[in-house]
Each structure stands twice: as C-alpha cells, then as structure tokens.
Amino acid sequence: MDLRNKKIDEGVFMASRGEVLAQWPTGSRVDLQEAVDFHKSLPESKIFSRKLADAKKHRKTLIQPRAGVALLQDHIKLLTFLQDHGEADLLPTTIDSYTRQNRYKEAENGIEESVRQSKSMLNGFPAVNHGVDGCRSIIQSLDVPVQVRHGTPDARLLTEITYAGGYTSYEGGGISYNIPYAKSVSLESTIRDWQYVDRLTGLYEEMGISINREPFGPLTGTLVPPSISHAVAIIESLLAAEQGVRNITVGYGQCGNLIQDVAAIRSLEEMTEEYLKVYGYDDVVVTTVLHQWMGGFPQDEAKAFGVISWGSVVGALAGATKIIVKTPHEAMGVPTMEANAQGLRCTKQVISMLADQPLNNAQVTAEKEIIKAETKCILDKCFELGEGDIAVGAVAAFQTGVLDIPFAPSRFNAGKLLPARDNDGAIRILTPGAVPFSKELLDFNAAKIEERAKSEKRAASFQMVIDDVYAIGKGRLVGRP
C-alpha cells in the first residue's frame, strides 16, 4: 500500500488492528469503547492535555521526570515517590528496550529475572507484558497525569494497551522513534505504524478523549542543530494532525547556548502553529517541551546538578510548557528514585525562581529568524520531494540527505552532515552534506564555524566534533583544544 499523508481509511485501520492486538496475549483485553469509558471516569487532574493547555494559558512551566522499572508494584512506588518527593507535575512511564523492539518474550524474561534478583533487570517498564489492568492500576494510584515515553519504532500494540490502560499522553513519531532508535527499520514502515498510533489517538479524540501526543524532539540528543529537529517535529505534527490528533507537544533538546535555546523553543512553538494552520488543522493545541541536556553528562553529581540547572534556566526563560528533567546519576545509569527526585527538586527550585522573568532581546529575535529560515529551507525541500505530500517527502528527504540527523544509528540516515559548536557555543553546521540551506545560510554557518576555528587556532575538522561531544561531560560547553 502507498504511503501518503492521508487519514487512514476506517476499514483498513480495523483490519490491521486485529493483527496488532494479536501480537501478544495481553492484546485481547483491549476494548475501545470500554477504554473510552475508563478515560471518562478519570478526574480532570489526571488528564495530560488539560494540564498542558492550562499551563500554556498561565505561562507556567511544568516538570516531568523519566522513570520506569520492570515490576508493577515497584513502578507504582517509584512514580508515587517522584510525585510526592520530587514535586513532579507530570509523570512518565519509560518503557524498557526489549519492549521497544517488540521483543516481548525477552521482556518477560527480564520480569522474571527481576523477581528472582529482587532488582530491576530492565531499563524500563514492560507495559505490554503487564497489560491493560496493570497500566490502569498505575493511573489509579497517582494524582497527576502520566505519559508513555519510549523509543519504539513499531509501537502499535504498546499504544493500544497503554491507551486502554488510561494513559493520557504518548511520546514518539515515525521519524523521531526510528532514526535515533533503530538500525534497519525502514522509514516507510515506521511512518505508517505511527499513522496507526495517530489514527488511534484520533479515534479517542473523536470519542471525546483528547490524548496528548509528543514527537520526540531531541533525536540523538547529540549536537542536533535546531532546524533539523524543528523540521522533524513539524513533519510529525502534520502527520499526527491529519490522523485527527488535536493536542500536540513539540520538543527540543537543549543545546547549551542560551540565546539559541530560547530562540529554538519560541520558534518551534510559532512555526508548528503556523504550519498546522496553513495546512488546515485549525484546532490543534500546541505546547512545547524542553529536554534538559540530552548528550553525555558529567559523572560528578555536583556538576550534573549544574547541567540540570542550566537546562532549567533555559526552559524557564524560554517559557517552555514543560521540562523533561535529568538526574545527577545520568552519566552512571538508570537513577535511583532518590536521585531522580533530586533532579526534579533542583529543577523546580530554578524554574520557580525564574517564573516571572522571560528573556527578550534582539539576539534572541535574530537567532529565531535564522532558525526559522533554516527550518523553512528543509521543509520546503521536503514538500517538493514529496510533490506536496509530507509523508512521501520525509522518506525522500532521508534518502537524499535533505534530512540528516547527526550520530543516528539508522542506516536510512545519510550521516553526511556534521555539526559543531560556534565560538559562543551555539550548534552550527560544519559539513552540510545535502542539507538544502540557501547559500546565505550556508555561508552564515560556515562563517560561524570559521570564527571559532580561528579563535582556537586550528582548522575545523571531525576532531572539533569529537571534542564537542565530550565537552559537557568534561565540564565545558565548547570543546576547545
């Protein structure tokens, strides 16, 4: 069947639905109408889209951790702790890596091993294995909205089960959960599988349940220039809206330069709203999420707190709707619940202190213009390649390197583009690959990198990129020699 950015036909959807639900025994428990009734029984305070829309209206910045362990009771305990002692406004259920690869058998082993060793042997919560009722007991145990966070190329069954389980928000997208999270899964198939997810979200929406969807903004989390992640976020928003999604949170991973980060969050919100409107989706509520630094972290906890705080500052000054919070254990491993709560409380302190201090200046405005122009170059080319169809265009864009995500593991990613920081620490493009920037923008990027190379008295090269990858972990922003 052809890939198109068109609402999936109901017959087609229902047919594949049967297959999806049969992928693992817990699928048989899913019943759409019963699930909608469960959602309707939830109090407002547990509904993600409500809390986000409200935060946007009152210019509040909410905080949310990542967290997930193998066993149900432990997972509930963990989330309760983060709610009560971490002051989390929103909660997650981070899914384990076997589930993300649809390896439910290995996830089952992981659960059994975890019981045997009385510690979590999985890096997340295997929601498919725990099933609909397992999920509902999580939702019921907590006071705040909960989201599924993962990195699953084919997430159809996971979506079915967690939506029926009462989750009110769902991360991911056909590009953002493929290119950074898979090695050899084709883009056509993930975009199609995520159209399924979005269509299911649309069905709930049509039945009165607005589930929030969040494209995964940071991608590889490693030196991704804002225009690239913006282009992906906007494409996934358009794809989602077409399937009937009406509440979208677009995301961005902090790059570390204040001006670029504030400009990025602001331009992301503006552009996403614009594009949705232009393409006829008028009634979508768009909110933003800033991810605290997603690349390599310093091992020292005190330094990690510094990185966490810097992300919090940026989120608050930019006015992001929510912040995804890192922990002082980031460089070491999945955090203990205490470490996770510490990251949250640190973040809460910073954003509360900055709540009334938005940053506006000419530098931010100028940087916003750059980001918008770059993003537009990429999106224009995508539409062109797709002859007006953005699903087709996205696939072609990756084939041709028009979209090229630095450090991505996928073999469907060109991997020709290289980013590096400029002399102020903003992320620019060192080797453009096939990125379709105007000559002016290419020259701008080149000049910025050249400025740094001069100040460091060395030629720009891959060594500069490597130095930048290590920099924050070593306590700097720019990887100077």
């Binding site: 290995e106 999985l122 890096n123 590889t220 254990h329 070491m332 490597i466």
Partner: protein, 138 residues
C-alpha cells in the same frame, strides 16, 4: 608489525551510536584494523565477524542497561565456535543503575570477560589495555 584486528559493536537491543562511532575513529587512529558492527549487535554477529576477519579481540559496548542479560553465555559461545581464548572486553554503562564498580566487574569477569570497564572510560584507556594485552609495542 602486522595490524591487530578488533571487532567492535553495541550489543543487544542497544542503539547508543555516539560512543561507537567515536571508538571506531579512535581505534583506527591508534593503528588497529577495526571491524565495526555498529549498534544492535547479537552475540552471533560478533562471533561470525571475528571468525571471518580472524580477529584478535572483541570489544563489546553496552550502554542501555541490559548488558548483563545480553552478555550472558558470550564466552561459552565463543569457545564453542572455535574462538577459544579470544580477548573479550566489555564497557559502557553495562548494568542498570549506579552500582559499585567492583561488584559489576566481578560479575562480568565471572562471565568470562577479560577486562571490564566502567562508565565514561576514555578511549585512551581501552587502547592502552588492548596494546598491552595484544603485545603491541608503543
């Protein structure tokens, strides 16, 4: 001196690609012949690549926390496949969570790994170890 051959990759369902790309670069710069399997590598893939290339060592990365589950039985499989005694390293964030490194090292050594490295080990450390273990003169 003939070039030593090493197979590298990230084991299991792990997609952390950044360190892998950098290790490839660093090992190559250091004079090794590197067969890079990238991310999401199964035990079998390491082994057949090592057999095919007649490699001197297998360097396993695991970042995402499932290392302990993914690495079990690797030494036995090497033995069975005729790679008896091949140098076997593992490094990265190889277990779930922040755990005392001594315990982790003990567990992985018991599994048959010759050397075990903790989070954030710089490439230079690995290179030095490889050179020592493979008898490469500086």
């Amino acid at each position: 001196m003939d070039q030593k051959k090493i197979v590298i990759g990230v084991i299991g369902a792990d997609v952390h690609a950044v360190g892998n790309k950098i290790l490839y670069h660093a090992f190559t710069q250091a004079g090794f012949h590197v067969i890079n399997l990238g991310v999401m590598v199964s035990q079998e893939e390491y082994i057949s690549a090592a057999i095919e290339a007649d490699a001197d060592a297998i360097v396993v990365s695991s970042l995402y926390g499932h290392g302990e589950l993914d690495c079990r039985g690797m030494r036995e499989k090497c033995d069975e496949s005729g790679l008896k005694g091949i140098l076997l390293y593992v490094g990265g964030n190889i277990v779930v969570g922040k755990q005392p490194f001594e315990d982790v090292e003990k567990r992985f050594k018991a599994m048959g790994f010759d050397r075990v490295f903790g989070p954030g080990t710089p490439p230079e450390t690995t290179i030095d170890a490889l050179k020592e273990d493979l008898g490469v003169a500086e």
